[in-house]
Amino acid sequence: MEQEIMADIQSKTATTESINRGPIAMQLRDVAVSFHGRTAVRDCTFDIAKNRVTSLIGPSGSGKTTLLRALNRLHDLTPGAKVTGQILLDGVDIYRGNITVTELRTRVGMVFQRPNPFPTMSIYDNAVSGLRFNGVKKKSLLDEAAESSLRSAALWDSVSSRLKVSASNLSGGEQQRLCIARALALDPEVLLMDEPTSALDPVATLRIEELMTSLKSRVTVVIVTHNMQQAARISDDCAFLLMGEDRAGELIEFDTTEKIFNNPVDSRTLDYTLGRFG
């Protein structure tokens, strides 16, 4: 807290250098994403701290999801997509460094807006699908990972007796928790969540939020959310993005959630968090 207060308040540019938030999981350096030459998001420089929840907030079109998807190279398959700047995972540039895209994706997992368990697979097969993709065949290891990840996703108690049932029989909230378990089974270092509760009812939303807080000790979480209360409730750090003049999103401010919501540097951040626009 003290360090935060001592941070360089005068600086107009968002900076994280002086905030001590513990070890860093991912670093973004001047990251920009463009599609067919049109910039969708740019000027993103901030650090994602280990074992904390970082939220990306901002109005529609500010490039939150685009930025998130750059973190596990999901843009690779989009024709015309280009990511510039540096994204470092444990100090390794994920686009140019010594890391394969499949390895990256096992270390940086993703949960999507809509619950999307594989409809042709059972609950168990869904949970271990990532391990199977990565060549794990040993039954004991699969079983162990399935149980541990389903427990972490707070799903084990309700599904342990029907692991062979198709995943499409689960409710929406359960499906989303299965998707979280599926990502956790690979024991990733970072878990990216793209508005994971936007398709869920309030009760299921609450459960996912509790889950995220409990996951912190196990994984670093980066979450995109439209919902400012959610960002305030669950995240430790917060990046605020806004669409610029040329309709490209840019990072306005990055800081601890507390500061973003209580004492932001940029007036636009204040306007947004107070609900004056967006």
């Binding site: 994706r105 993703m110 999507f112 409809p119 042709t120 990532g130 993709f133 499409s168 690979l186």
Partner: protein, 324 residues
């Protein structure tokens, strides 16, 4: 053999009722109803007439048509075994070729080609489907057949078990069951690709992204997620292609050889139900016409059954994807 993928688009359920027919009954309503009734009568006539004309054969010869081996014009006996065996043999080999090549083609179209080229290729597939079957037959007869005789057949005969599969070498002619299978395979390929491409393309993108995010390679995404999700619809496409293959007439008539021997050696000439009808009908009289009509009944039952299965499968796929 034009392509009508449209039969996959009509929804059987959830039809929004527009009550112009029932709300106020006017001349318009009666005209529509009259048309519908007339179409119903025509379709009944279609099935009924062919069945009726075949009746003498079923009464007098019974099951000979299914199990008999010889076909002697003009007085009989009329055995259909050779045609039935030939139909299944050529169709199934054609189906294997078309599914193997077609699945790869559909996957390439959806996952490898850039969007613009994808549309061009889709148009080409439609054009391939629109080529009249007699043109495929002509091509098979005048281009493929000489090439097979000179190049392919000697090579095939050097295989182990060649005698068992292909028959004694030296007895084959330019036209054969194998040539018919290949031409059929080429003909049903666009049918299969048109449906399977669509079925594959509608697999939700977020399932693909989810599997990629778990570290799957492209092929793993396709094998473990896309194909299983599309499985039912792909079977639907397969049955549709099989239905087309069994009903194909003039191309097989041109390239299969038109010999009604009940054998299955692939390099020997043979025939199929539909091709046999086309080849013999012109010179047949009385009983033989009835026997050919009976073959037509077989063909009809086979085709209606296959297309029913195909439709049911494609409808089920649509429901599966509605849940996802």
């Amino acid at each position: 053999m034009a392509l009508i993928p449209t039969d996959l688009h009509v929804r059987d359920e959830a039809v929004t009722e527009i009550n112009s027919v029932t709300a106020d009954r006017t001349w318009y309503h009666y005209v529509l109803l009259g048309g519908a009734v007339l179409f119903g009568i025509i379709s009944l006539g279609f099935v009924g007439t062919i069945f009726w004309s075949s009746l003498p054969t079923w009464v007098h010869h019974g099951w000979t048509l299914l199990t008999g081996k010889g076909w002697s014009s003009p007085s009989g006996p009329f055995g259909g075994l050779a045609m039935i065996v030939g139909t299944f043999e050529t169709s199934i080999i054609a189906l294997i070729l078309a599914v193997l090549i077609g699945l790869g083609t559909s996957i390439s179209i959806v996952f490898l080609l850039p969007r613009r080229i994808r549309n061009i290729v889709a148009t080409l597939v439609e054009l391939l489907a629109a080529v009249p079957s007699v043109v495929y037959g002509l091509w098979g007869l005048l281009v493929l057949s000489p090439w097979m005789t000179v190049t392919v057949n000697p090579w095939l005969n050097s295989w182990p078990f060649a005698k068992f599969l292909f028959g004694n070498p030296g007895q084959e002619f330019g036209t054969s069951l194998l040539l018919a299978s290949i031409v059929l395979g080429i003909m049903i390929l666009p049918t299969f690709v048109a449906v399977s491409r669509e079925v594959i393309a509608v697999v939700p993108q977020d399932l693909i992204e989810a599997s990629l995010s778990l570290g799957a390679t492209r092929w793993q995404v396709i094998r473990e997620v896309v194909l299983p999700t599309a499985k039912v619809g792909l079977f639907g496409a397969t049955f549709l292609a099989l239905a087309r293959a069994t009903g194909e007439t003039v191309a097989v008539a041109l390239v299969a050889g038109g010999v009604a021997d009940a054998q299955f050696h692939l390099l020997y000439p043979g025939t199929s139900i539909a091709a046999w009808i086309a080849l013999t009908f012109g010179e047949s009289q009385g009983n033989e016409i009835s026997a050919l009509m009976a073959l037509g009944v077989l063909l009809m039952l086979l085709n209606f059954g296959l297309s029913m299965i195909s439709r049911a499968l494609v409808n089920r796929q649509r429901r599966i994807l509605a849940i996802v």
